[in-house]
Point group: C2
Chain length 383, copies 2
């Protein structure tokens, strides 16, 4: 298939020893993507980036799966405007996932809005963006699209798969569904089953988007009315759950801006932070993608039939690393304990560790020393 | 002053030995309310209810202060349509606050939307509703309006003041500001200082309201566009914080409605619950009141100057009961511990207790046996 370089960042990427975002059509009318639901989708284009070099044995590939609001730009420093990859602290020469050793692939997820086919893409049947006519899909579908990408890149076995949050859910599903394909599975602050509280937060975020009068039932593309209010509120709410109470205390406390007493504007620094997060998000994210990917998380439940799951995991050769952070209250250690419980029952080879970090769910993106050392050691087989 | 009975519920109220909602003008052009900020406000009407009989010594009065979304209808079963008072499990004949013994008063707060002057009231200067031109006010102002109501009812000293959440904040402020006026102060799942996370949740709720395109900068009254979307989202979000994770797990789990797989409607029972809460709320609450009262909570900080607070509390004759619930994560026990710490430093007579209850912040409104026994015993001087 033809791989196309997106944008004019090849030079920037190359200068850092990295490749800029590329795009490839993985499914077309003749070979559509067949979703777990049975529905088909075509064409499906996928945006991806790679870092490092695939070795001759094709044995050093690592897939990174992104979380709810991620994209293919996991590492390096490029794009227009130039931005750091979202997991640049983890991936690169000399970093925990050392691109002098490993060949790293990261793609924008199915349903995404950063180069991969999603609800903002043109539906060939109508010539207009899918909007809410885009089919629902599952974590398994997210995995299958990425497996096809790897096949296209000539990769049949992975040295490792790594993901945090929704990313970790994909890694877990991948390792369960395809024994032997992933040597090491790093499942970081993920969940095998959202709690009703988790679902509630996502539901409120979706309500903020869908009740926005500018949402127009998802057909806001190309109109002069965008559901920016709803998407802002969703993002602000998300950020509360990404950060621990103590991190907010440490970073903002009750510090005020220099206002003269109560207003309904931005009086407290914490309000300024939330407002800034919303503002940044609007420029890069699509409201419909938020709906689809958050709904995918709600339904993820690979251990629903626990007996079957345990049976499937028996003799699975994958080594699992299950990591949580002590202050993460979005997917607390209880979620990781549950994953560990099932892996243990199935006799899997796994390490489960809770890392101390004040930053809550966000910790997985931050250079927490114990955590980075753990990832490095686990990949080297020292853990 | 003239006390007017609101609505046609006198009979229903009387039959239960209760009085229906009444209204009284407490401040007028000649005697305006002077707010802590120095601004003045007039007229100020206050809606209130009373239960039980004031004794001859006028020594058995108890004030109940309501929380963010409460009203004067704390007990009994009346109104149109008939509704239970929001704290009916606590107040009534034979109940923990026994109306055979005590005379109970509860009023709708300043800034409210259920009979007391607030942003939806007519500004006499313009002849139109205040909207966001209503002045900002403080917890101290909330207290002063209620003190004036009591004065008008001929009550100079209170046997007790009781409040949960924002209600407890008022009780705390009252006891600090007016030593000797309140014999017993029951401060229930309250806070002396919101954390940045608390403020963040309120900020997102306010953003949902104010970014709603139908908000019209607060001047939505009488138009055909109301900020219902924003108010719904605010309410849903509030409810997540009122209930503990384990209560949601117990009540809803991951139970689904009978849908055929993913939709963006109401797939999970928890979503149905949130939707129902939003729906009920829209009929009875005003978005601007939500803004004002939540902002009041953000700024509440009676121990900001701790030395001064301790000095003021010394030799305060009030007995304090400070109650928290182990699963309350809106105002966790840490908030009550902080109140207790300052009371202890000042040598106050106080009992601080954490009650085990699975229901989170909502517990204060529920008939949790240990909690009700504690309130009963404390009022009887047995604790």
């Amino acid at each position: 298939m033809t791989h196309e370089t997106l944008g004019s960042n090849a030079e920037a990427g190359a200068s850092a020893g990295l490749v800029a975002t590329q795009s490839v059509r993985l499914f077309d009318e003749e070979n559509p993507l067949v979703l777990e639901s049975g529905e088909t989708l075509a064409p499906v284009d996928v945006a991806y980036e790679t870092y490092g070099e695939l070795n001759a044995e094709r044995s050093n590939a690592i897939i990174f799966c992104h979380a709810l609001t991620g994209d293919a730009h996991a590492a390096g420093h490029h794009g227009e405007p130039k931005t750091d990859g979202w997991w640049d602290s983890m991936i690169g020469p000399g970093k925990p996932v050392d691109t002098n050793t490993y060949f790293v692939v990261c793609s924008n997820l199915l349903g995404g809005c950063s180069g991969t086919t999603g609800p903002s893409s043109i539906d060939p049947k109508t010539g207009t963006p899918y909007g809410l006519r885009f089919p629902h899909f599952s974590v398994r579908d997210l995995v299958e699209v990425q497996r096809r990408l790897l096949k296209d890149l000539g990769i049949e076995r992975l040295y490792a798969g790594i993901g945090g949050s929704l990313g970790g859910m994909q890694i877990l599903q991948w390792a369960i569904d395809h024994p032997g394909e992933m040597k090491n599975a790093l499942v970081i602050c993920a969940s095998s089953r959202l709690t009703p509280e988790n679902i509630a937060f996502s539901s409120v975020a979706r309500n903020a988007i869908m009740r926005d009068v500018n949402f127009q039932n998802g057909d806001y593309y190309g109109t002069d009315r965008q559901p920016d209010s709803g998407l802002s509120v969703a993002r602000m709410l998300g950020h509360i759950t990404y950060v621990s109470e103590q991190a907010l205390e440490r970073k903002f406390g009750r510090e005020r801006r220099d206002t003269q007493g109560p207003t309904f504007g931005i009086d407290f620094q914490i309000e300024s932070y939330l407002d800034h997060q919303a503002e940044k998000f609007l420029g890069r994210f699509d409201a419909n993608t938020y709906l689809y990917l958050s709904r995918v998380m709600d339904y993820f439940d690979p251990f629903a039939d626990e007996e079957a799951a345990v049976a499937r995991l028996r003799e699975n050769p994958t080594r699992f690393l299950v990591v949580s952070f002590d202050t993460d209250w979005r997917f607390s250690t209880a979620h990781s304990l549950e994953i560990g419980r099932v892996l243990e029952q199935a006799g899997c080879d796994f390490v489960r560790e809770e890392i101390a970090s004040p930053w809550g769910h966000d910790s997985f993106l931050l250079p927490v020393p114990d955590y980075h050392q753990l990832v490095r050691d686990f990949l080297a087989g020292k853990r």
